[in-house]
Symmetry: C2
Subunit: 295 residues, 2 copies
Amino acid sequence: MADTVSFLVDPLPVDASPEFLEASFREIEPGSGALAVNDLAPHRGDGIFETLAVIDGHVQEVGPHLARLANSARLTELPEPNPEQWRLVIRRAAERVPAEGEFALKIALSRGVDPGTTPTGWVHVTPGADFAAARERGIRVVSLDRGVARGAGERAPWLLLGAKTLSYAANMAAIREAKRRGADDALFVSSDGFVLEGPTSSLIARLGDEFVTTPPAAGILHGTTQRSIFAHLEAQGRAVGYRDLTLDELRRADAAWLVSSVRMAAPIAELDGAPLPVDADETAALNAYLLSPRD
Amino acid sequence: MADTVSFLVDPLPVDASPEFLEASFREIEPGSGALAVNDLAPHRGDGIFETLAVIDGHVQEVGPHLARLANSARLTELPEPNPEQWRLVIRRAAERVPAEGEFALKIALSRGVDPGTTPTGWVHVTPGADFAAARERGIRVVSLDRGVARGAGERAPWLLLGAKTLSYAANMAAIREAKRRGADDALFVSSDGFVLEGPTSSLIARLGDEFVTTPPAAGILHGTTQRSIFAHLEAQGRAVGYRDLTLDELRRADAAWLVSSVRMAAPIAELDGAPLPVDADETAALNAYLLSPRD
């Protein structure tokens, strides 16, 4: 058992024979030198990733995360990931951490060493931070201009707005800016005034009885946690919908959350310094669902 | 002597004693495992870089590149790079490759292993590609929407548009899109129709007797090669200026180039399928200057 675990992966083609799976990855010492400096991940941020939650030994939503990894690969023209290989590596990595508690399991696929003919892959598992306060009392959020107009991703697919790439420098800068302003997280807004997503999360707002989130066509990453929550709410007969919301509409919402795989549902308690209602019961129900075993 | 050389660097603070410089870096086997998978460069594209040309043993424009690296560090809130350390590593790396021919020397500074308390650095030198055709006959360029309006970088500094970060996935996707369209390179255009820069180059256009380039405030990286060319042209009494140009104005230019540290001045022979005049004499003069030793 270890709290932090790393694996290096030689990504296999989708049609690889199953006999090659076990020998296609190996555990490495966390923090040890593993990637070449001219690998296109450190060189160019040129790769894709997913972060999965491991809750008491269960890896959440492996299928949806691998489906999105495959979509990111398609958008960035990387070879299609072999789902059986990644399922196996994910299982092996999750088995190496304690069977109790929360962990964040990141899988990544890079274009490989320059010029990028052979992809590189890795898995890195770390203990989850303590998100109790964020999940209960909520978070303070500031809205930040994302610079792009709603729908830019469809007009300009090379911007990769719908792919989960390793190029997150601006997302990290947005979180630093939010902290500088005394907040916990950021919410990106399109240059034409529509709310988009957080730097590492999706937005869900409740307006009356309806749960609303940003349409992926607006130019965002389609959230696996948001999809999981919407499927859960729909199964309960609740109303859910994809709709563009302005920042003013969000300010009048009855409740709102930034949702993500590891922090789960964090209610927005404050938006740009003004309080937003926190629905404690709804939030607790959402996080109870998100923390339950999901596939 | 080797054609490809890598160094790992422990970035020193600016006030480090000179006695620590020599022991602060070491040569490593190119392509060997060097960076941890949870270093924030591969993890998040969270770092900065510069690419310098080495021409017949002379490293071009070390000072301007280190000045821009320091500016990128400021914009991304990385520790200020120690210029003496980087000068020494650059010199040592350049001494390891043959004293004849062209090489590309990349220096990079990452936020370090997650959570990023201690930066990581590296240098990687590779032989320059053969750019003779691009420098003489020119390149075919397609214009691609950059998604952001002119000036977005000043309104939203967290977009890091003026920093040379390791998050280049979209830049690489734009070059792939250009190649898919049968071109050699891309030219980003703002969502409001102004020409910006190439994914890895700056634009210079000649309109009549004046050389014009995009103002950095438009939301671009200020090019070291563009600045070097402008200083050279000004010293010759030529007219140079920073001015916003629309794509239509560029189409009517008397000549235009994409300029960068390693490919140097590549005349745009074709823009979106329509020919653009190539000024062979001016281009040859520019490249002769760029290939001469510059500090």
